[in-house]
């Protein structure tokens, strides 16, 4: 009898211990997010808007530390499916005042209005890989294409504060072969992006230096730095003012807006 009783006790202890380990394993497994889940959380945490207007200061710094400051007005529209349409006008300095760029759906169509030409100029779609107006951002970088679903992602490493993801593509029509994304573990936003050219060379690094959290905890990058590693050049973008969901007409993000004297 005693033996049978003892056997039952061992069985119960075994079940409890087994369940304990099982629950722990499930808990550990549930904490281990996949790269796609992390990316989804990053997207969920981004400020949710139909359109936005930002007033931004752009600082261009060359390898000798010489600075050039530009002021820009930027309108963005979320087209869905990771597509962003953007209208950007330079307000200063005088040498670029009035220069206006329209990038439709992540640069699929790009128009540039230079006041001296007095007409919009279409730029080849492949030019979206070129740097825009002397900055270290290409037309494509401004669209934050590193979040594009055309890239396959994998979780490279998890540190105390960051998830480190690799986004990779074999599609040669895209500008970069891969990105390394450093995602803040607590708030789920991208803190740093390393850009790798099609030949595999690390060419640029984007760092988000300051973010803004709205009432719902949604995140907007307010200060960022793009470093061109090859040219040893840096562009800082500092957002001074931001407004969301403005009452803009459907035709605002078309070439008819490019020549308007005031946006």
């Amino acid at each position: 009898m005693l033996n049978k009783k003892n056997n039952n006790q061992y069985f119960i202890i075994f079940i409890i211990v087994g369940l304990f380990f099982a629950f722990n394993l499930v808990a550990v497994a549930s904490q281990q997010l996949t790269a796609d889940e992390i990316t989804d959380k990053v997207k969920e945490n981004q400020a949710d808007y139909q359109n936005s207007k930002t007033q931004t200061e752009m600082v261009l710094i060359d390898q000798d530390g010489k600075e050039e400051i530009r002021e820009i007005l930027m309108f963005k529209k979320d087209e869905g499916d990771d597509k962003i349409t953007m209208l950007m006008r330079f307000l200063s300095p005088k040498s670029v005042e009035g220069v206006t760029l329209l990038s439709i759906e992540n640069g699929d169509k790009i128009y540039l209005y230079l006041p001296a030409y007095q007409k919009p100029r279409r730029i080849a779609g492949s030019s979206k890989q070129e740097n825009f107006m002397g900055t270290d951002f290409s037309y494509e970088d401004l669209s934050m294409d590193y979040q594009n679903d055309d890239y396959q992602r994998e979780l490279l490493k998890e540190t105390e504060k960051q998830y480190i993801l690799k986004a990779i593509t074999s599609d040669e029509e895209l500008s970069y072969s891969q990105f390394i994304l450093y995602v803040n573990k607590e708030k789920f936003y991208v803190e740093k992006v390393e850009f790798f050219a099609l030949d595999g060379q690390h060419t640029k690094t984007l760092e988000i230096k300051e973010v803004n959290f709205d009432d719902e905890g949604k995140i907007t990058p307010m200060k960022m730095e793009m470093n061109d590693i090859i040219d040893k050049h840096q562009t800082q973008m500092n957002i001074n003012e931001i407004d969301y969901n403005l009452d803009l007409s459907d035709s605002f993000f078309t070439i008819r807006t490019l020549q308007r004297p005031r946006l």
Binding site: D62, Q63, D64, K66, E68, P93, K94, S95, E97, D108, K109, P115, A116, Y117, Q118, K119, R121, R122, I123, A124, G125, S126, S127, E130, G134, D231, H233, S249, D250, S251, T254, I255, R256, R260, P261, R262
Partner: protein, 412 residues
């Protein structure tokens, strides 16, 4: 006479100054002060031009603006007006006052065509009478109305009406010496000097108008256009010689129709470059001078170019031209051109080269120079222009412009 000539400009300038200072009627302005100096090799002359350009706009309502630019210019160039004080543009612009329609009315500039230079479709406004390879030509405003009707977000219909032709402002003295050079050699035994030449102008009564339809395709934009107007350069209608050896030219502006096709964007096989092209089929009015036909048969003009920037910031813009702006009818001939500049890392210098090469007679016009950005708002440019040619070559029009050029520009 001189004073009366400049009164309207001075009056306009004063009015603008008063308007700009009125509370509640403030204009947004930006100014450019530019000095241009040149030493012309063929004439051994030193020219100076000082220009103050004031761009302005005033927001009357959210969708209606008063826009324009005022030009104050003084020059000693043979081919320019000595003093200009006038609004180059002044117009009311209305955006979406009528749904899908934007309009401009006043003294306006309309730029048609996709090409950056020498577009045969850009016919509404004259340019100052100089040919430049290195920069987009400034245009002179003309009275008229233009409208753009938006058929969706990708298709646009443009219309322009000008009540009269705005001709290229050649100084009379320049035309007189030019006609003497071209026509007197054919008159044996006659001796003329420029003071014995008279010019009369034949009035043109046509309304100038045009329509243009463009569409934005996924990788390129394309458009078709129709223009009905006049040549902006004068053509001699009649030449007579009085018993006192006074030579009298009557000049006119022949009418023409231009049917155009334009495109710009990226095309299969040339990925990475932006292709721009303007093709024009020009139907001129028949024009004769003393039995010689100057214009009769329709002809083609075209420019096709490609823009490309290399990885090390070398900008290349090259292409094919059939018919330069000063060529008409059978005179039109093929050329290739190249415009290139290089951004140099961490330096404010930008060397550039521009050249046109005639495929017909191998003559070649070259401009080599350097731009320098002194500060954010001050820039300088110096270049040397020279012609490689045989006498009477296709590019001999550029002969007068051989020389050294300097410009200093301050934006404020």
């Amino acid at each position: 006479m001189m004073k009366i000539k400049y009164y309207p400009g001075i009056l306009f300038l004063l009015s603008m100054l008063i308007l700009c200072t009125l509370p509640g009627l403030a204009f947004d302005t930006s100014q450019t002060l530019e000095y241009e100096g040149s030493f012309l090799l063929s004439q051994q002359t030193l020219n100076h031009t000082l220009t103050l350009e004031i761009d302005y706009f005033h927001e009357i309502t959210d969708n209606i603006f008063l826009e324009g630019d005022l030009m104050i210019r003084a020059t000693n160039k043979e081919i320019g007006q000595p003093i200009v004080i006038a609004p180059n543009e002044i117009y009311l612009s209305g955006y979406s006052i009528i749904e899908n329609l934007d309009i401009k009315a006043g003294k306006i500039i309309n730029r048609w065509g996709a090409a950056d230079i020498f577009s045969p479709l850009d016919n509404f406004n004259p340019a100052p009478p100089e040919v430049s390879l290195t920069k987009q030509k400034s245009k002179i405003g003309a009275l008229g109305i233009s409208g753009t009707y938006y058929l969706g977000n990708s298709t646009y219909l443009y219309g322009v009406i000008l009540p009269r032709v705005m001709p290229t402002p050649y100084p009379d003295e320049f035309l007189k010496s030019n006609y003497l050079l071209n026509y007197v050699s054919g008159l044996p035994g006659q001796e003329f000097d420029i003071s014995k030449v008279e010019l009369n102008y034949q009035e043109t009564e046509n309304i100038v108008w045009g329509l243009r339809l463009t569409h934005s395709f996924p990788t390129f934009d394309a458009g078709i256009s129709y223009y009905r107007g006049n040549y902006m350069d004068p053509f001699p209608v009649n030449l007579s010689i009085s018993p006192e050896n006074m030579m009298e030219f009557t000049l006119g502006y022949p009418s023409k129709q231009v049917i155009g096709l334009e495109f710009q964007g990226e095309f299969p096989g040339i990925e990475g470059a932006t292709l721009r092209g303007d093709l024009a089929y020009v139907i001129p009015e028949k024009w004769e001078l003393q039995g010689n036909t100057l214009l009769e048969e329709p002809y083609f003009q075209a420019i096709i170019s490609a823009d490309y920037t290399t990885e090390n910031n070398l900008y290349l813009n090259g292409g094919f031209i059939y018919g330069l702006p000063f060529e008409r009818g059978n005179e039109c001939s093929p050329y290739i051109y190249l415009n290139t500049s290089k951004e140099i890392e961490n330096y404010d210098f930008k060397p550039f080269y521009a050249g046109v090469f005639s495929l017909k007679d191998a003559s070649m016009m070259n401009v080599i120079g350097v731009d320098y950005q002194l500060t954010d708002s001050v820039s300088a440019s110096i270049n040397y222009s020279f012609l490689l040619e045989d006498e009477q070559s296709k590019l001999s029009q550029f002969e007068r412009s051989q020389g050294i050029y300097l410009s200093l520009k301050w934006l404020f």
